[in-house]
């Protein structure tokens, strides 16, 4: 099989960068497996409990970049207790003891302690990049350790983390010799920061391309920072409440004119809407605009701003834009690929300001649309059918009707036909989230048409086990399935137990599966870890007939995890 010596194959493999392709290459033969593993630098582990640090280190000695994901997706919505798991420390501990020269760490939904950050900062001389998304468990003390000890740090990117802010001077911990920063994002921090230290840091970082500030950074500082960093590609303002008659505001206006490279804009966590016009000069070149944390704007101001953004590819906004506003987006943003409309009132059961009309307008005006997250008041089958026709290129389609079992308000029928049209038309669909009144029929369509589907989220949907079976049988590429409050039980769960080995994970909460059913599954499939999350602790382990509140199962190479808390039973 091997016509070339290893030294020839290695540089060839360097061209193969996607994880999937690398994984395929490693399966060809023993020799390719060996060459691939020595040359692999980037590893992605979608479920941290599917393997262990020791196996990672043994197989990939050349590891430089590691991506780890911890808690299941529904943890985002408070369905998983905080101390369920996903701890970073064991990974850092093991990597630190090894010879691995870690340079980049990307984490999602992990529990990250200050101790692990400190150990990380001291163990890897060439550490360059830390990206934390939806993580928790650390304080600004941990950030101080990273700042102080990582001498070649290029990227510190904190997205939507729950950080205990000790208001320490973590920013001042970047030494004067640190001039390597390319990306700094601390928008999610709630506390005050040392403004002087921030200004000096930006002034000595000539390579800084991405800067996202938190709410505590006032307008005056923003203006100074922009003067220092006209080379920015990505800007997230903190507070944007200028005094329109001030000198600082005038200076900002000219500073903005010099920032010709900004392509991505976010922030406006506090905003004086009358001063948004200062931003217009950079709108023409924007490809990403995120105003989803700017409730202080009104629909009018938002729409006026967007009218200047003709090159927009990705847009994240709040629903106060309204259907009319979406019409303006549709006629302005012809390059739009991704749209996310979040609810202004996330406590829900409220009144979202967008309906199916806005979505139809978008679909008609933006044929390149391939990714959608849309929180809305209502949806109709007719609208979804139109959207499916207008936009056959959806890769990701997530619809959230605020009332989760709301039927089509015009016909009073379930939304089966509408979603059916989406999956039939969008042959490349990889991710789908359903809502609204839905019967088993929608799952028949999904099983029939959604051949590329990898992730499916179901809530309050379906009538019987048939629904879940259509999906399990039809969606050959399914990797993640998460279901809540739907009438699927043991019959569906147990019909094809081998299927779960082809998937990353299955989540079922408030469904009809019983403890006995889960036990049976665990018995038949030792390669799976079947977890029961039993918060109320009213469940007796012996009562097999009881329905299970929350079940999470995943394939694993390393058996049952040892760090599960008391309320988690691993069957």
């Amino acid at each position: 099989m091997n016509y070339f010596p290893d030294e020839v194959l290695e540089p060839v493999f360097d061209f193969i960068t996607s994880h999937k392709d690398r994984n395929s290459v490693s399966l060809v033969c023993k020799s390719w497996f060996k060459i691939e593993r020595y040359s692999r630098q980037r590893v992605f582990i979608g479920n941290c409990y599917s393997t262990c640090p020791e196996r990672l280190i043994a197989r990939f000695p050349g590891l430089k970049s590691l991506t780890l994901k911890g808690k299941p997706h529904f943890a985002d919505f408070n369905l998983v207790p905080h101390d369920w798991g996903g701890f970073l420390y064991p990974w850092i501990e093991a990597l630190a003891k090894s010879r691995i020269g870690l340079e980049e760490l990307r984490l999602k939904r992990m529990v990250v302690s200050d101790e692990s950050l400190e150990l990380l900062s001291k163990s890897f001389v060439n550490f360059k990049s830390l990206v934390l998304v939806s993580c928790e468990g650390f304080t600004t003390d941990g950030l101080a350790a990273i700042a102080a000890n990582c001498r070649f740090l290029r990227e510190l990117d904190l997205q939507e983390n729950e950080v205990d802010d000790h208001r320490g001077h973590w920013l001042s911990c970047f030494p004067e010799s640190c001039t390597s920063l390319v990306s700094l994002n601390f928008a999610c921090l709630k506390g005050e920061i040392n403004l002087g230290a921030l200004e000096r840091l930006v002034a000595r970082s000539p390579n800084l391309k991405s800067l996202r500030l938190n709410r505590a950074v006032p307008f005056d500082t923003l203006e100074k920072l922009l003067m220092q960093a006209p080379q920015l590609l990505d800007l997230g303002t903190g507070s944007y409440v200028p005094d329109p008659s001030s000198e600082a505001y005038n200076r900002l206006k000219s500073a903005i004119q010099r920032c010709k490279s900004i392509r991505s804009l976010s922030g406006f966590l506090e905003v004086n809407p009358r001063c948004m016009s200062a931003i217009y000069p950079i709108c023409a070149n924007l490809t990403f605009l995120n105003l989803s944390y700017a409730p202080g704007l009104s629909g009018n101001e938002l729409t006026k701003l967007i009218q200047h953004c003709r090159k927009l590819q990705r847009l994240w906004i709040l629903d106060y834009i309204g259907d009319k506003g979406l019409g303006v987006v549709a006629s302005t943003c012809k390059e739009l690929q991704e749209l996310r409309v979040f609810p202004t009132d996330p406590l829900g059961a409220g009144n979202a300001a967008v309906t199916e009309e806005g979505l139809v307008l978008i679909s008609a005006g933006c044929p390149k649309l391939n990714s959608l997250l849309y929180f809305c008041q209502q949806m109709t089958n007719a609208a979804l059918i139109t959207v499916a026709k207008n936009c056959p290129n959806f890769i990701c389609f997530r619809l959230c009707i605020l009332d989760p079992i709301k039927p089509d308000p015009v016909t009073n029928r379930p939304l089966d036909e509408g979603f059916g049209a989406i999956v039939e038309s969008c042959e490349g669909l990889k991710r789908l989230s359903l809502s609204g009144l839905l019967s088993d029929q929608v799952f028949l369509y999904i099983g029939m048409y959604a051949k590329q589907l990898e992730m499916l989220s179901i809530a309050f949907a379906g009538d019987s086990d048939e629904g879940m079976l259509y999906v399990l049988n039809g969606c050959k590429k399914l990797r993640k399935l998460e279901i809540r409050d739907s009438p699927f039980g043991n019959a569906a769960l147990l019909e094809d137990v081998g299927k779960y080995e082809t998937m990353r994970s299955l989540w079922m909460s408030s469904c009809e599966v019983t403890l006995g059913g889960c036990k049976t599954l665990a018995e038949k499939m030792p390669s799976l870890s079947v977890e029961i999350i039993n918060e109320s602790q009213q469940m007796e382990f012996s009562l097999d007939d009881r329905t299970v509140d929350k079940m999470y199962l995943y394939r694993t190479l390393v058996g049952h995890r040892k760090d599960a808390p008391e309320f988690v039973w691993i069957l």
Partner: protein, 213 residues
């Protein structure tokens, strides 16, 4: 949705084939059917409102038929279901820690928004409104709060819409209570605000201090 009898007949039942599938019931949307073990259940789906009911009642892992029927008959209420809508906790906290309300001024073409959480008192709020609509100034009579446009001599009275949908005069209730119940603000021209802001003579010191808050 009618809460009383828990069942709704769709108006266009011409297509009757899947009638049962689409029949809407409060607690248990979806058809009632015979389960695989042959026992008939009253619809074995745990519906949205049933889940709502569960949040208040005892957590009973086994769903009895009676529970289910009761859930079906319970009135519709806008209650929070755990984890719905599916918005990340971080975003939920970020958005609810501010309380933006719209501010309308009679005669102005555009509305503004203020974050009530940013103020500690009526005084601060009114000062901020004064700055926002900068041609007006606030004159604080003892227990009247008015905004006066010196240029035109028009008086504005700050009013707000509360949770019940009623329009109230700003300043009567304690500040925190106001923040919680205020949905939107409106500066009404004095002539239109008759009935809300009577021209009462200044009260004695003790009562005015209380209402100035």
């Amino acid at each position: 949705m009618s809460p009383e009898n828990g069942k709704i007949l769709p108006e266009n039942d011409a297509a009757d084939l899947n009638f049962e599938a689409t029949e809407l019931t409060l607690g248990l949307p979806g058809k009632s059917r015979v389960t695989s073990d042959g026992g008939a259940k009253l619809g074995n789906k745990r519906g949205f409102f049933e889940t709502v009911d569960l949040n208040f009642g005892d957590k009973d892992c086994g769903q009895s038929q009676i529970d289910v029927q009761e859930a079906a008959n319970s009135p519709v209420s806008k209650v929070q279901v755990e984890g719905w809508p599916p918005v990340r906790g971080f975003r939920k906290n970020a958005m609810t820690s501010c309380k933006y309300v719209k501010v309308a001024v009679d005669g102005a073409p555009y509305l503004r928004k203020v974050d009530l959480e940013m103020y500690d008192s009526y005084q601060q709020l009114l000062s901020s409104l004064e700055q926002m609509f900068s041609c007006f100034t606030i004159r604080n009579y003892l227990n009247e709060k008015k905004i006066i446009d010196h240029m035109n001599g028009i008086e504005y009275v700050p009013t707000y819409e509360d949770k019940d949908g009623d329009w109230m005069l700003v300043g009567d209730v304690p500040w925190q209570m106001f923040v919680e119940s205020c949905k939107r603000l409106r500066l009404k021209k004095s002539s239109e605000a008759i009935g809300l802001a009577p021209r009462t003579p200044p009260k004695c010191a003790s009562t005015t201090e209380r209402s100035l808050n």
